[in-house]
Symmetry: C2
Subunit: 333 residues, 2 copies
């Protein structure tokens, strides 16, 4: 930079200004500086700038597992607006080991990041709160409703209620639910939506018909097995994720039954493969990429010190009717 200054016959301060606050510099000198810069092929040292400004223009995204399509879609949205706004995104794949979050927290303590988006909610509320007091933080897509931390979520209760009601409208009265890990609030909310749908339609809630595991294919397979063992198995199952739904369907087929003829299924997420699965999954589509974008936008506002009028952004999921629910067949009476 001092070379540039010399070459342009100005001080380093002016060079800096020409780049940072072009309006505060005479057009003529600005041109001189610019010329010098290209002549010497100078690029600013961002490290020094960061040290001076105490900011990194970098955010950290903590993700439970990149290989899950849900998270990669969110990540994709986050990355898109981050780039557009000049932020870099640091990947924090904790691979389901919650403890690893603490390692990443050091990044912040050492001022290596300006903010953070968490794609996981396993942390207790007060830890999150402490964190949020220290640095700009946004949580998505799973968060308890009463969090004071800004969140971007889908209306899990309402969406699940609609999914369940769709099955009810198809004539089902004996509906099961395969939930995700019940310590996650999204799982709890989806269960709650299922329960409300039953309630409003005068169907008794039965504990036996609710199984919980994690969000994987394997869990769906295993929980469905339990359901099939019942004296009177359900005629429809609302699954808390598409992967669960796929696992469940696989198990049903193995049992010699058909989906949706014998048992109807609705999933959640609208994961990429849900449309080519057989039968194609009826599912609740979360606008994941959009939610990722919004998370980043909220975070940026936060980092810029804007006090937001709104802290929680709630999206609604779309019911995508395909084959696994049986809506395309004759309705039952």
């Amino acid at each position: 930079m001092s070379d540039v200054a010399k070459y342009a016959n100005v001080s380093t301060a002016t060079v800096s200004r020409a780049l940072q606050h072009p309006e505060s510099v005479k057009e003529e000198t600005r041109q001189k500086v610019l010329a010098a810069i290209t002549a010497l092929n100078y690029t600013p040292n961002v490290l020094a700038r960061q040290l001076r400004r105490m900011e990194t223009k970098t955010i950290l995204v903590v993700v439970p597992n990149i290989e899950n399509n849900v998270f990669s879609q969110l990540l994709s949205g986050i990355d898109a607006v981050a780039n557009q706004k000049g932020y870099k995104v640091l990947l924090g794949n904790i691979n389901h080991k919650v403890d690893k979050i603490y390692d990443y927290l050091d990044h912040f303590r050492q001022r290596q990041i300006d903010g953070m988006i968490m794609l996981i909610s396993d942390l207790s509320d007060h830890i999150l709160q402490d964190l949020a007091n220290e640095l700009p933080l946004v949580i998505t897509p799973d968060s308890s409703d009463d969090a004071i931390v800004p969140t971007v979520v889908v209306d899990n209760v309402g969406s699940s209620q609609r999914a369940t009601e769709h099955l009810i409208s198809l004539g089902h009265r004996r509906l099961a639910h395969i939930a995700g890990p019940l310590h996650l609030s999204s799982s709890k909310s989806r269960l709650e939506g299922y329960r409300q749908a039953l309630h409003e339609n005068g169907i008794r809630f039965d504990h036996e018909l609710v199984k919980a595991g994690d969000f994987t294919i394997q869990a769906g397979f295993k929980q469905m097995e339990q359901l099939l063992l019942m004296e009177v198995p359900p005629t429809a199952v609302f699954c808390a994720s598409d992967e669960i739904a796929m696992g469940a369907i696989k198990r049903i087929k193995q049992h010699g039954l058909k989906v949706p003829e014998d048992i109807a299924i609705v999933g959640f997420d609208n994961v990429k493969f849900s449309s080519i699965f057989e039968p194609a999954l009826t599912t609740m589509a979360q606008p994941l990429e959009e939610m990722g974008r919004q998370s980043m936008k909220v975070l940026i506002d936060r980092m810029n010190g804007k006090t937001l009028s709104k802290n929680h952004f709630i999206y609604s999921a779309d019911l995508i009717i395909r084959e696994s629910c049986g809506a395309h067949l004759n309705k039952r009476e």
Copy 2:
């Protein structure tokens, strides 16, 4: 840091030494410093350290599209060893827009990254070469064989040959190939493997039986359509990716034919969903996570200035036999 120094009655230099070169400091003073550090709850400012050392301990991973399971698996492996070795990984999702790579190159010019792993090979060889001269660079999993840049790849030719030979061994003589984008060397190599398998088994290579698109389900669907239109359609298809295979199978079913009875299919990648697809995909499994790990290891060596005896690391893919190839049925004669 100066606070720590004061608290411990030493100079800042000693504090620094106590942390960087513990052996060059008396045990007693080291303890004093450590005590002061915990007492004041001091954490070093990494930015300043980086400025001083001119290194960031950060690498950039350029990925064509995070939502693709192949890349997220690689990323997962990269991230794992990066963390372990104290590196941060910056995500560069270019979303198939090759031009965006140039934006990321600025990160390097501005010394924001120490090295780079590219999960894409669309760049011409000499651009890559130029890049590699400027900074540590590793390319995976798609790269031309003659690249001077370090690469971590799968043996595409050999693997594809084995995949094709598997179909031949099942009695097929009229085999088609649906390739990926032919400007990618991995696509070219897979086509070459297919060709060699035919050649070595005395089967004439027929241009008509080779279709190319990209690696997506949609492409597989579309290319299979062409194949089905032929007067004598193939009895087996080797697909350059699992997604292509899924699309192709979908089209075949729509046509009223069965897989593998009427047409046998082999895919490539062993993507997560390939095992629950119906029929379950026979495919070539790349050790993607391991390849990601290896890429990061090679990059670290590079960044440490080690001259590697070996620049190209070639993994072999495993043939995973499931249902889509028909091996579980009676063999044809």
